[in-house]
C-alpha cells in the first residue's frame, strides 16, 4: 500500500493517520480512528448519514478523500457534547423522540448544528431545506424539525445569558 500521510485536526484534537489515496474520509474516521458516529448510508452523497464539517463547511465524508483532510479542521458528531453534557440539539432529539433506529441521527445532528451556527432562528421551511440532504427512513421528519426548533430556542436563550 502506498499510503498518504495526513496531519489534521478532528474535534480540536491534532490527529495523524496514513491511508490509501483512494480511501474516503468516512472510512478513515470509522475504520482507522474509531470515530463511529458518522455512518455510511448510501456512499454516494445522497443520504447525509456521514455528514461532518470540513473547515466549517457541511459535507458528506463519503465524498471526501481521507488524503484531502491534510491541514484542515474537521468536526464530527463526537465533538458535539461537552463531556457528559449533551448539546441542546442532542437533548432535544431525545426529548422529542426524533429518532428510532438512529442510523441517520449523527448526520442530522451535524447538519442541524451547521444550520443553527449560521442561522440561530430558522423558519420551518429553512430547516426543511437545510436538512433536505439527510434522509430518515423511520421517524419521519416532523419530530426532527420540532427538535431542531426547540434546540434553536434553547441555544438562543443560552446565548442571551452569555
Amino acid at each position: 500500500m502506498s499510503g498518504v500521510h495526513v496531519t489534521t485536526t478532528i474535534n480540536d484534537d491534532p490527529i495523524e493517520y496514513v491511508c490509501p489515496a483512494d480511501e474516503s474520509l468516512l472510512d478513515v474516521l470509522r475504520d482507522r480512528l474509531g470515530l463511529m458516529g458518522a455512518k455510511e448510508g448510501c456512499g454516494t452523497g445522497d443520504c447525509g448519514a456521514c455528514s461532518i464539517t470540513l473547515d466549517g463547511q457541511l459535507v458528506c465524508s463519503c465524498l471526501v478523500l481521507g488524503a484531502e483532510a491534510e491541514g484542515r479542521s474537521i468536526t464530527t458528531v463526537e465533538g458535539m457534547a461537552s463531556g457528559e453534557k449533551l448539546h441542546p440539539l442532542q437533548k432535544q432529539f431525545i426529548d422529542n423522540a426524533a429518532l428510532q433506529c438512529g442510523i441517520c441521527t449523527p448526520g442530522f445532528l451535524v447538519a442541524s448544528k451547521a444550520l443553527l451556527d449560521e442561522n440561530p432562528d430558522p423558519t420551518e421551511t429553512e430547516i426543511r431545506y437545510a436538512l433536505a440532504g439527510n434522509l430518515c427512513r423511520c421517524t419521519g421528519y416532523d419530530k426532527i424539525v420540532k427538535a431542531v426548533q426547540a434546540a434553536a430556542k434553547d441555544l438562543r436563550k443560552q446565548n442571551k445569558k452569555k
Binding site: S24, D46, G48, L54, C60, G133
Partner: protein, 284 residues
C-alpha cells in the same frame, strides 16, 4: 491510485501531462468520487486542485467575474456582487444537490462532468460564460463548446479548466434559470432553461437562450433568442419562444419524462424563465 495536491496550475498541468495511466482532476468530488466508489473509474492519479489559490477565488474586475474551478456552490451563493450581477447563474449552481453537496460541488466540475442535465451549464451558456482551459497552452473556450456529448468534453489529455469567466453585467440586463423536476428538490432536471437578455428602451436588444436535459448536450438555441429580440416579451413573442425551444429539443424517453413531455415542458419553462429575466432587466 496516487493522490497529488499541487499548489500551482502549472504543477497540476505537468502532473496530468506526465501521467501515463488514467488521470482525473478532483474539484468538489461530488461526481468523481461517486464514480470512484461505484467502480466506474479506476484512476492511476487524482489531482486535487483545491490547494491552488487562484482556483479557489472569485475575482471581480472591469471585464466581469473570474470564478476559480475549485469554488464551491456554497461560496458562489455567498458572493454578493456575483449574486447581484448573475442571479440566474448562481441560482442554477445552487440548485444542485443538498447543502452537503453545495459545500463541495463546483461549476467547472459540473461542466467537465458533461451531463446533458447539468444545471449550471445552460445558465452559464446563456450568460456567455467562457472556460479558461490550461494545458500546454492557455486557451479560452465558450462554455457551449466544452461539452461534446454525454460525459464527453473537448478538453485534450493534460488539459484542465482553471476558471470560468462571466462578462460584466451590461446595463438593463437580467438572467434566470429554471428547471423542472418531478419532486421539489434533490433531483435531476427533466428540462432546464437558462435565459439572459439585455433591454434597450424597454425592447429586448440582445438575448441568449440555452436548454438542458433535452439533447445529448446542453443547447444554445439561437432561434429562441431571435424569437424575443426586438419585442417587449408580449404574448406572441412568448409563444414564438416556446415553439423555438420545443423545436430545438432532441430528447430521450426516460423515467423522468417522455420525449413529447420534455418538448412541451421546454416551451412552457422557457416562457417562465424569460419573464423572470425580463423583469430582472427592468422590463415592464
Amino acid at each position: 491510485m496516487r493522490y497529488e495536491s499541487p499548489t500551482t496550475t502549472k504543477e497540476a498541468v505537468s502532473l496530468l501531462a506526465k501521467e501515463k495511466g488514467k488521470a482525473f482532476v478532483l474539484a468538489g468530488g461530488t461526481d468523481l468520487l461517486v464514480r470512484l466508489r461505484m467502480d466506474m473509474i479506476d484512476p492511476d492519479l487524482m489531482v486535487d486542485i483545491k490547494r491552488i489559490p487562484a482556483m479557489m477565488e472569485i475575482k471581480k474586475s472591469a471585464t466581469g467575474f473570474k470564478i476559480g474551478a475549485g469554488v464551491s456552490g456554497a461560496n458562489l451563493g455567498k458572493n454578493k456582487a456575483l449574486v447581484k450581477a448573475w442571479p440566474g447563474v448562481v441560482e442554477a449552481a445552487n440548485l444542485i444537490g443538498s447543502d452537503q453537496v453545495q459545500g463541495r460541488c463546483t461549476m467547472a466540475g459540473n461542466l467537465c462532468n458533461a451531463s446533458p442535465a447539468a444545471d449550471s451549464v445552460p445558465a452559464m451558456i446563456a450568460a456567455g460564460a467562457k472556460a479558461i482551459v490550461v494545458g500546454k497552452k492557455r486557451r479560452t473556450v465558450a462554455v457551449e463548446d466544452v461539452i461534446t456529448g454525454p460525459g464527453q468534453t473537448s478538453l485534450a489529455k493534460g488539459e484542465l479548466i482553471e476558471a470560468i469567466t462571466l462578462p460584466a453585467r451590461p446595463a438593463k440586463s437580467g438572467d434566470a434559470y429554471l428547471r423542472f423536476i418531478p419532486r421539489t428538490e434533490m433531483d435531476i432536471a427533466v428540462v432546464g432553461v437558462g435565459i439572459s437578455l439585455t433591454l434597450s428602451k424597454g425592447v429586448i436588444a440582445k438575448a441568449r437562450v440555452s436548454l438542458g436535459a433535452v439533447a445529448p448536450t446542453p443547447l444554445l438555441v439561437k432561434a429562441a433568442a431571435k424569437a424575443i429580440i426586438g419585442t417587449k416579451l408580449d404574448d406572441d413573442a412568448l409563444e414564438a419562444l416556446a415553439e423555438a425551444c420545443s423545436a430545438a429539443c432532441n430528447p430521450i424517453d426516460d423515467k423522468r419524462g417522455t420525449i413529447e413531455y420534455r418538448k412541451r415542458i421546454a416551451g412552457v419553462l422557457a416562457k417562465r424563465t424569460a419573464k423572470i429575466a425580463y423583469e430582472r432587466a427592468g422590463g415592464k
